[in-house]
């Protein structure tokens, strides 16, 4: 398998605290790589560095062999990196349908087709139809005309994922995709992530707290603790790692 995303010796510090200390990790094509670690371990900061929201003080990020450390976030999106947030991020004043249409127009814009041209006066009919059928796939079609802010927590996360996937990313980064979800919804997320990887060939990078979810979908695990990578490898291998066991599983907490 080839390396799709590679972080090498990433350091990031706020004025008073070092958040990431020489973090190196590799995401291979078509794997589901899960980053686990206690709260405050630096998972979200690492996500910010990888997606272009913040610049690391040192270290490099490479994507498909290209150095993207200083590349603007929107350019990384054009190269095929998508991401979602712990708290779903949507255009909440807009309708659900308009959110999806906007994402589809952005996809057409990235592809450079005439459907995404900025001087159009109306969204193209085929994009509206595509948006409706995508919403139907996600069980959101009956909410199409509702304002996105009125959706339930789970529906917001589903819509956010739909928006990100609309851009046809190669690598998708999900920050705690099951946070705040009921067990049934969590299982649905696991099933969907596995389907994306196996059927659509996507590469996934996640952070996740729920161990049932982690072991339900991870093909590789990286453990972060206090800004350092303390273990990385196959899920079973990591589970048996004595250091990880001590600081992570050893305290008898199932949900760290």
């Amino acid at each position: 398998m080839t390396d799709l995303l590679e972080a090498r010796d990433i350091c990031f510090a706020y004025p008073s605290v070092r958040v990431l200390k020489d973090v190196s990790m590799t995401v291979r094509a078509n794997e589901c790589h899960v980053i686990i670690g206690p709260n405050g371990a630096g998972k979200t900061t690492l996500f910010k560095v990888l997606s272009g929201e913040t610049l690391p003080q040192s270290g490099t990020v490479r994507y498909s062999g290209e150095d993207v450390t200083r590349l603007d976030a929107w350019k990384r999106v054009h190269r095929g990196i998508g991401r979602t947030f712990q708290v779903a991020r949507l255009f909440s004043e807009q309708t659900v349908l308009n959110n999806v249409i906007l994402a589809l127009e952005c996809r057409e814009n990235i592809k450079g087709t005439s459907l995404g041209r900025w001087w159009r006066l109306n969204p193209a009919r085929e994009l509206v139809d595509e948006a409706m059928s995508r919403l139907a796939e996600y069980g959101l079609d009956r909410r199409a005309q509702d304002s996105a802010k009125n959706l339930s927590h789970g529906d917001k996360k589903r819509l956010e994922l739909l928006l990100t996937l609309s851009l046809h990313p190669k690598l998708i980064m999900l920050d705690e995709p099951t946070a705040g979800m009921a067990p049934d919804d969590r299982r649905a997320v696991v099933a969907m992530v596995n389907r994306l990887r196996e059927e659509e060939g996507l590469t996934l990078l996640l952070t996740e707290h729920d161990m049932e979810v982690v072991f339900g979908l991870a093909t590789r695990l990286t453990v972060l603790s206090q800004g350092k990578v303390i273990a990385s490898g196959e899920p079973e291998e990591v589970r048996r790692d004595p250091v990880v066991h001590e600081i992570y599983f050893g305290k008898g907490r199932h949900h760290a």
Binding site: D72, A73, W74, V77, R89, Q94, L102, C106, L121, N122
Partner: protein, 293 residues
Amino acid sequence: MLADLLLIAMNGLVWGMAVFLVASGLTLIFGILHILNFSHGGFVMIGAYLAFTLMNMLAGSVGIVAFILIAFACAAAVGLMGFVVDRVVFERLKRVDDSYSLIATYAVLLLCEGFVKTAWGPNFQSVYPPSGLEGAVFLGNLFMPSYALFVIGAGVIVFLVLDFWLHRTPSGKIMKSVAVDPWMASLLGINVNAIFTVAVVGGFVLAGLAGGLLAPNQSLSPMMGGVYIIQAFGVIIVGGIGNVRGAFIAAILLGLIDAFGTVYVPQFPGIFFYVAVAVIILFRPQGLLSGIH
């Protein structure tokens, strides 16, 4: 009696639409970049002086079409200045505290005033309405200067075009998305910095257009930038900063209040605008409408 009331209302509308023409670009830039552009009035002034020069070059024979073309030329020229100001000034203001933006854009206003004094001199200048608009028309038994009706029409058209663009077109929606959440927009692959530049240039184009269209409305002086900016600020604060629809409604409302106030309490001309602004923001500090619309 009714005719009097209508005449006062029409005067209020003319004032309101003139101020809306100025305020539209100001509120657009604030709505998208969250920068309060103090220099906006200065660029309206430059637009007006450019129109003055261009109309003088045509030496008295300016028809309506030529007048409108001149206003568009002023809009284009000021838009170009906007591009430069964006690169040199606004680009640096995105990551700093708001107070820096006020100081920086106020400095640009001073530069505008200095530029106007140098290029056109400190004296008052005046521009006559183009031929075809210098007369007056009867609407029923209302006697209205045609240029006043032209200003009302121009304000309404600019509002309708902006409103249609922001609400109906894909590019307007992208503009709004960037205004609401630039980070989310960039994760959809939108080049947010380019959108910011488009917004600034758009705001300056509106300033230049307002200057060109309103040049015949008053005597031009190097101080007019400051006068415009105060009235435009009042309108966009009452309308809800960043909100084009709000600015349109507020401009009409404040125009009517000021016109009726000046007629019924002639001892205090022009004070009712400020009183109304103060009272409205006392009860609705967020403005009549909020968010970018």
